[in-house]
């Protein structure tokens, strides 16, 4: 990977920052990380070989807005959701929040507005605890070039019933990096359901560097789901990271449905005693793409529970790697780390790995793992086909079932249906190149 900092980037960034009236701390952080990122190490993930990907060749930040009709393909029902944010590139196409929630102090807005209107609140958390800006070369790159995203703040004891929905659409109608940042703060005793959709409009080759930070305070409950559908021309670094305080829960359900190369760093820190996470990941890889997903849960607090479930399907010549890292640190007594990673290979040229890594530094704990790389169950196929269902449809049904763990966790019916349709489309396309035998 090539790394370059040119002086012209410094002035472009300054202009960009001023254009959004970002607070002084933001400009300072950007300039610092711009100077620093080329010297920081790239993060390492077991069996994920992404180092040569084009993830650091930054394009100069542009201040021009994106075209609103780029949302058309998604057929977003703007009226269906009370709490909705739609962004194309850095341009906000819709931002709505139930006034009753706003009155309770809930903030849900694009990241630039948040920086302007709540500079201290954003500064307190932004790339400081969950994902530290100088953690590695890619996080520092992100801090320097961040160009979109959202801020969601839920005050103490506020429970949000309706899901919060966000669409982040990469504008690839032109050459432009996609660097959105999502910061979710769930204060003590709060509750929220948040769903995000990542997608691409346009056919340019671009890089994406996405960071999501979730901070769950004592006894906060966060249900986070995401459907990632970036294009085949997008090369992506995707970092989602949560930190949990005492008795907090964060449930993740993420569908990696991207068409391009993706390295996913997906991490949950169970800091507080009794905190609990359920991490569910599904992925489909097709064509020649590579998706490497490093899912990690670290039990720091006592009596913490971390469960990882990863199911993936690999078609054609693609590669899918699931790392499942369960780390129980010394002192995390009474904790539980479990994981299951399963990969189905639908072609003989597909490559897959399901790699469980358990690091246990404490005795009084429970831990377990199951991992498999296999083919579609023949008994299931025979049963479905014995009812007249063709081999390809039967295969798609079995796989849809296999990926069902995440589909059922998506709060919105329309998103569930779209995810199902996406899975169906990917499988159909992938099957076309398979033999009919």
């Amino acid at each position: 990977m090539e790394t370059k900092v040119e002086p012209e980037f410094q002035s472009a960034l300054t202009t960009y920052t001023q254009d959004h009236a970002e607070p002084a701390w933001s400009l300072e952080l950007r300039q610092k990380m711009l100077a620093q990122y080329p010297t920081l190490p790239l993060p390492r993930y077991e069996k994920i070989d992404y180092q040569k990907w084009d993830l650091l060749n930054a394009t100069k930040p542009v201040t021009t807005t994106s075209n609103a009709d780029l949302t058309d393909d998604l057929k977003i029902d703007f009226a269906a959701s009370k709490n909705l944010l739609v962004e194309v590139g850095k341009s906000v196409m819709a931002a709505q929040l139930d006034p009753a929630l706003a009155a309770q102090g809930v903030i849900f807005t694009d990241i630039f507005t948040a920086m302007r209107d709540y500079p201290e609140l954003v500064e307190k958390y932004y790339m400081k605890t969950a994902v530290k800006a100088d953690n590695n070369r890619l996080t520092a790159f992100h801090a320097a070039f961040m160009n979109g995203g959202a801020f969601l703040y839920v005050p103490k004891n506020v429970a949000i019933k309706d899901p919060i929905q966000a669409y982040y659409i990469q504008d690839s109608t032109r050459k432009q990096d996609f660097v959105p940042h999502v910061l979710v703060i769930a204060e003590e005793g709060s509750e929220l359901t948040y769903h995000e959709n990542l997608s691409t409009s346009g056919t340019e080759s671009n890089l994406a560097n996405i960071v999501v930070e979730v901070i769950a305070k004592d006894n906060a409950h966060v249900h986070f789901s995401a459907v990632d559908q970036l294009s085949g021309k997008t090369t992506t670094y995707l970092n989602r990271h949560a930190i949990l305080a005492t008795d907090a829960t964060v449930d993740w359900a993420v569908g990696f449905m991207n068409d391009g190369n993706v390295v996913g760093d997906f991490s949950t820190d169970l800091r507080g005693k009794g905190s609990h996470t359920e991490v569910k990941v599904v992925a489909i890889t097709t064509g020649k793409q590579v998706q490497g997903i490093d899912t990690k849960v670290t039990n720091y607090g006592q009596h913490t529970i971390g469960h990882i479930l990863q199911h993936g399907v690999i078609l054609e010549d693609s590669t899918l790697t699931f790392n499942g890292v369960g780390h129980i640190v010394k002192g995390a007594r009474g904790s539980d780390a479990q994981q299951e990673s399963r990969v189905l290979m639908l072609s003989t040229t597909a490559r897959g790995d399901a790699d469980p890594i358990l690091l246990i530094d404490e005795n009084d704990v429970t831990a377990g793992h199951a991992a498999s790389v296999g083919r579609v169950d023949e008994g299931q196929m025979y049963y479905l086909m014995s009812r007249g269902i063709s081999k390809k449809v039967a295969e798609r049904l079995v796989i849809r079932g296999f990926l069902g763990s995440v589909i059922t966790e998506i709060p919105s019916k329309s998103v569930r249906e779209r995810l199902t349709a996406t899975i169906e489309r990917k499988l159909e396309n992938g099957q076309k190149s398979e033999s009919d035998s």
Partner: protein, 264 residues
Amino acid sequence: MARLEVKDLHVSVTDEDKGVDKEILTGVNLVMNTGEIHAIMGPNGTGKSTLSQAIMGNPAYKVTQGDILLNGESILGMPVDERARKGLFLAMQYPAEIAGVTNVEFMRAAINARRADDDQMPVMEFMKLLDEKQEILDMTDEMSERYLNEGFSGGEKKRNEILQLMMIQPNFAILDEIDSGLDIDALKVVSKGVNAMRGDNFGSLIITHYQRLLNYIVPDTVHVMMGGRIVQSGGPELAEKLEDEGYAGVRDELGLDVKLTDEI
């Protein structure tokens, strides 16, 4: 009228442990038409399930000799899904479980697989049909909404097989030990479902170990299978004779050299 013929059928399976082929069916002959109910009775391990799987087209069962004809056409070269679309149905002794796929979704896929792309069954029509069949089988919507056979009890699975049978409405249904593991009430329900299918366009091959089922679904013809072939055929009274004399009695009477692993 449709016709299913099994001619001098020899079938082998591969013994996984030894890696050698073992002949299970040693020359089965059978002719049945729609409108008829046939029963096959026989001791455990004699090849009843093998016969049903070979007719359906399970790739694990290799036909080494003979033929299977549906309306005069050999189906040996057809994969299982094609045979199903031609009108065959097998209620399996051990149905597969598939998480994440609901019964409803599965049955719609099965019905629509038989129809042209531009003639898929409308949802309302499907739901109406489903309600009607569920009622006959004392089944609830809740069961149909569940994942395919997942977590179903033995009896629920059998009922679910019959529900599929009634939804798909094939020409020929092979029911492999549909009575095993059923209490008397469930047996009555399952029988009610099968009897509701009876008619000119439906024929069934009922495989059972016990005569009891045949009190509820009265067959036209009963076949006794031993040592991988049919050794005797007759009317319903043959089932009663078997019940009285046991398979050993029939074997001895016919002077067969077959080892029985169990007796009724």
